[in-house]
Symmetry: D2
Subunit: 482 residues, 4 copies
């Protein structure tokens, strides 16, 4: 046992899991032309552990066993551990062509959230199950997805509201027996679940007593009976319209995961009816997950900044005043994300027994990034110009009758080859897709979710400020009463 | 002669023109599986003239000949004419599934700009050529593209700047002879040129004396020797991933047009060396073209507003306060565009002898629309939710093993069918593409171009305001001196 | 009877009204050093009617009586009447040094709102009372304030909510008898009421049946027994720190008006318990009032634009690129307000029997203005520079020991006198006060009130757009059902 | 010698300095009714050093002399020192009722900038002079102003440009002799200079060789012959309109400082003609100064946040959704400023031999604060409501005839006294002045200055991002060549 190799990881995925894509069933996710791109993208996490330049970042020694384990499954002890994990994600994403491996990061966020919630509940069996499951993940170096978002039906109604079209819009316990619980429902947007070993399921909202059966959290292997995944199509090849690039294609897909009356053994159950702790679990996961989001979004923004500067230079306009203003705005977004992500590790909080990134700061960092993405997109499209979408394709470049025209007329600043300029348009087109926009604002929770959490977490400071203001106003009334 | 039918229009395109797409040459644009979608989209303009409900809007009687002609080629006389033309475009775009036919509108803007510039130059032969060409367009009811944007090379250098990699980055006159002028260069982003009859070419920037050979404007048939078009790929079919829709697909492509030493006869030359009039011609066209842009963007925004409200209702969140705020923002954008577009017709200006929409107001309308597009996109994506990009496809819907799961779990508010919800996601995905974004900010000129024109046109009013402020300040100095 | 002169207007204010200011009671508002500035500002409306250049704008002939009456009290018949009234306000404000006279405009908005609501209620006695009161206003050419905003107490509680600290936070009927109703309560922010003849009171929110006693509207003379006004201090003189200016000071104050069990005779009662019509009355007034707001805000924005351009030139920076961008932004705000204000008259609606400016467009115009005010302030302060607040004062200018230093060192661009530059700083300081900011966002209702009305009024169009979108999505379900 | 007491500080100001205010000359700044408020505000810095709770923060032990010295004049060695100084400023400002003492902070920024520039020039005599002057400041515990902004004349012209109205718009050397240099010119916006011991003068822009005489930096006592200060009026008392408050009034004024041919001895000259180092000196000061700005702006924002929450609660609207959004926006601004200010200390740079806060991050922190100030103002004014400006004054509160009405009708939520609500309006009015706005955007340099520095400092990272993007695009060309 111990750390897995990339080959062992790939082998572990040939386990009979049920996965659909593009209207057909996938026999072997490591062999499917699309899904193997996701597998390769994820495998990079295992490769990092074997690369000397990343080993120290990717692997830590377990204090109890003395064994090397993935840093992701290591329980952080202090600010330094939070920063190291942050650096691991930023570095891993950069080294993986700007795509985060995702292999254990969100899984570890889920694991930590479950541990914290178990501590908060104070139930011994939950604490033990969480510890045992963490040890299992460490020992087997498993990839794991965290699954939170329910399909919801009518989004303003509670899970148990009879006005919902049916009672299964949120994952729920339909039976409990000696062996475990039986669950039904579906989760959506679960990135990379099709090629990960384990699935850790959590509720996605606050619950009332009537929703108790929906207050459920558990972990199961992806090949468990009754688990069905439907992936959505994604870009997994460069395509004949595009200039070929030596760099391997990297990308992920997401799954809709159906739980068709799945039996979950008791030792894998982390919440089952304790409805008061549904929200804390969501909350614990949200901050950790958003910090993970900040980490992997940094390299994404770096690429955007780089593309903007490159195409500005290629077009000859990098010294034009309004273009400089736009590059400045992009640089501000990038540096703000970087600084706030770090600051949240330094001003960490102890919560549920472990240090976590500062919640207000983390949510601001993520919100700020998400909220400004569309504007960043606009700036880069403005700098690039209309050729971004009207330029002829690589097919026309290969056609000897048109190649000469394209090469001559689509040049930019003297000294930059037309091919380089067209290649830059190509990756800008790729980076600034509508899909990227939706990821920016919906991954790790909606803009509204982040704003709500900012207000809740900042309220202590706000009330202190209020007391000060009341004092400055000269009010006699004891401030504490207001 | 007189008004053409759609069939005659199609026939007129089988003229030996040289068009490339996807690395191959197109034999017959009306038969090509992609380009015929563009042809159909454009043909709707001819169809409108024959439809009783649109006849009055689409056709006017020429005062001189008493013949019916397209409203586009009619020279407007007053505010009412401007409003009628605006209504024709809005109506035509709405009736054409939200896609503007483009058949004569930009062509007519070019024609009007050429006429105005001829008047401003005061050269009799230019005025006559413009009149004759307009009569020819009227009589033959021709589709025409206006071609302005040069490929530019280094965008901060003048056309004739020796630091450009070669002298052909802007279309220029390379020879003049008894028969006409010979032109070389390339224009880009020329929408629908591949299936239009005529091309009217204009310069795209101010010129200095050294740039005199680049100050050139002319019109030629699309099949003229030496004219080569390279189109870019576009969505022309629904695709197997998508739910089929009965409505015909409508869309356009753009051409890069190469002028490979093309001879233009003198009677088709509207500018040839008068460099001082390059900028006025650009300017005349820009306002007209931007007003056209405002007109056809109205239905596009209407669809966006409609999709936002529909998906909000389907998701059950249309009464949620922050969703209502977002719908309000969208409604503000739409109504502002509509009101400013109309206001610009009412506060029209006489310029170059004909009434044109108010330039300040038109540019503000177009700028405001373009500048807010990305935010509108964000709002709708936020309302729609992550399923916009992670929902399974129509292929999975057709697969009996997955259909049941999808139908059950991807429902929204009770009473809305899952299929309708998935269909709504589908058209939102289609409408909010990165391509739409680039069109929004680059079609009809960049954001910076509009801002520059706003300031120039508003400066008279600004100076009046300044004099008032100086008076209010009690300054003794004659305000006129400042 | 008939049109009043300014002298008659002043005389009419010496009527025993009870007005407090700065901790003391005001004997004669026309003689008080502060309030007479307000009187002078308002008197300009009467002066306009006697000035040949404004006569046609300010005065119309009553169709019934053949008498000349103020345009404000004339019931509009069409788009042209709405535009004329708009022009009267813009012109009157410009000619009155940028301060709206306010003498009859808001009063007339209230009168029209009362008439419309009477029509909507369909109660004959209310319709007659409204007609009679309008005839009285016309015949006596009276100044009148519209009073809407209650003091509200806890702003989220209804008027009759027992959790309010007392039941009088909204004006209410405390008794009804043969002579009329007795009212108690207070209204705030009532501009110019201290020097107007009549007060027309309206409710300020929707009501439930429990609030019936609060659903009350009436008009009374300002000197009615039990009516007490407390004004707030305002700038009514230039001050020793400031350069003297020949132009007369113009300004208004607002009143808090207390109704200390005031008897209102029945013929002056326009609503008394019909709680369903409280909201329609608010609504009717709001649009009219906001259009009035747009009208008088235009000259205010004109002055801002003028000051920005003037100080940019004085500082020598009017050609600097980021300053030009700022001037452009200001010009956009001004022109948008002007165009939307006009567009709302052209796309007018018939409501309650009379033409009113388009409600969606009017609210957008006002919202847009209010919402951008602070940014306009920022732009101008940025252009002006820090001297705006650190420059020595007129006292130092008069001191021979410091005058030389100031004159030498605080010059700007050569050719502009230091005094002119300091004077420009002075009026910018005056115009960009925090008070101006609060007026911008709270006069004519809060930003939220405008947004709410935009959504309500635009909902018809939004639903039409939705049906179109559903059709484009290919949904089979009848669109009408959603 | 050693640390001064507040009394010694006050005594040191009675030194014959020439100060004008409100058109008169000030005999003793410590006795003048306005200026003594500034003196008291500044004296708090000396008081802190004697208060046990602040001693460790305010005082450090000089390594060389073993003497206690002010932390401000201590040369920082590491991130911890930067954070301590930051904490000292935040704490001092909080404890001083939200007003920064300013006594040595900007002076120390100037001193550090001069030291760094001396190191960069590598001229031994400049390094020694800087060291000696620092030792002098430490030993005598002197208050000092940093004076940078010249009056500039035409702001787009260089100091030596003959088109300037006279050559003295920037401070310059008019003579050099055995004793020192003679300087002429004027600096503006120099906060608290009227009651500080020393003035350290620096240039304010880049210089060319022709501007060599303007490249001058030096320090002189405020009572040096030829130094004349003209202060501008400021709020130094509560006023009869306002509720009295027990807390002492705290505030500062700024000086225009004229140098009327002032002799500066050589040992106080830090730059005299080395025009290439004018810009580095500006640059060195700017970052330090902006970090100081961030520090003292934190408590200012805290008060704003506190006032917003207080008045929201008083008005009963703190649970209303759009109000919560506004409070959230304010909380985001505050926390972003706090986190970025800290992050800039942690990611410090060694520059000119000493650690300084990260320049990109510092400028972003300051820019973000300044750029959002007006919006914060708008949010609070919106929450507060129109009573902010129309409420009757304390004079009316004292008038028994009106007190009852005010007390009854201007209450808010039950349980909050009307007086407390009026007091809260009072301090909001005070905090949100137009003067605060100008300070927010102009103190520590304009918005444009910060943006320029962000771009310059971030360019290294941007270029790295560009190289990455070029690699991802698959361009063969060596990235280094672009």
């Amino acid at each position: 046992m111990g750390l897995k190799t990339a080959a062992e990881y790939r082998q572990s995925l040939r386990d009979g899991r049920v996965v659909y894509l593009n209207g057909g069933q996938v026999e072997d996710v490591t062999a499917h032309p699309a899904l193997r791109v996701g597998v390769d993208t994820a495998a990079f996490d295992y490769e990092m552990a074997e690369m000397p330049e990343y080993r120290d970042l990717a692997v830590v020694t377990d204090e109890k066993t003395g064994e090397p384990i993935s840093r992701y499954y290591y329980t952080p002890k202090n600010s330094g551990d939070l920063l190291k994990r942050h650096e691991l994600m930023v570095t891993g994403t950069r080294a993986n062509q700007g795509i985060v491996p995702f292999t254990k990061d969100i899984g570890a966020d889920s694991m930590n959230a479950v541990s914290m919630t178990a501590q908060m509940m104070g139930k011994k069996e939950y604490v033990e199950r969480a510890e045992n499951f963490r040890a299992y993940l460490q020992k087997n170096d498993l990839s794991m997805a965290g699954a939170m978002t329910d399909v919801k039906g009518n989004r303003v109604l509670r899970p148990s509201d009879p006005r919902q079209a049916h009672p299964d819009y949120y994952v729920r316990i339909v039976d409990r027996n000696r062996d475990g619980i039986v669950v039904r429902g579906a989760k959506v947007h679960i990135t990379a679940a099709a090629y990960f070993n384990e699935l850790l399921i959590m509720p996605c909202r606050n619950m009332s007593e009537a929703d108790a059966d929906y207050a459920v959290s558990f972990a199961i292997p992806a090949n468990t009976k009754g688990v069905v995944q439907i992936c959505h199509p994604f870009h997994y090849q460069i395509g004949a319209d595009n200039f070929p690039v030596d760099i391997p294609v990297r990308n992920h897909t997401d799954s809709m995961i159906i739980f068709d009356d799945v039996l979950v053994p008791w030792d894998r159950v982390f919440l089952a009816g304790e409805w008061e702790f549904a929200m804390p679990l969501v909350y614990n996961f949200a901050t950790l997950h958003r910090h993970t989001g900040c980490s992997y979004h940094i390299p994404i923004l770096e690429i955007l900044v780089g593309m903007a500067q490159a195409i500005a230079e290629y077009n000859g306009i990098d010294r034009v005043s309004h273009i400089r203003e736009q590059i400045t705005d992009l640089a501000i977004q990038l540096q703000t994300l970087k600084s706030l992500s770090k600051a949240s590790c330094l001003d960490y909080e102890i919560y549920g027994g472990i240090p976590i990134p500062n919640r207000t700061v983390t949510n601001i960092a993520k919100y700020n990034y998400a909220n400004s993405w569309h504007n960043c997109t606009k700036l880069i499209q403005d700098i690039a110009g209309g050729l971004l979408i009207t330029a002829p394709t690589y097919r026309d470049w290969q056609n000897p009758k048109t190649r000469g025209y394209i090469e001559k007329y689509l040049g930019g600043k003297a000294g930059i080859s037309t091919e380089d300029r067209l290649r830059m348009f190509q990756i800008i087109r790729h980076a600034l897709s509508a899909e990227s926009e939706v990821v920016a604002i919906h991954a790790e929770g909606s803009l509204a979710a982040q704003r709500m959490m900012i207000l809740v977490e900042a309220m202590g400071d706000i009330q202190e400020c209020k007391q000060w203001a009341i004092g400055l106003a000269g009010s006699k009334k004891a401030a504490a009463d207001t």
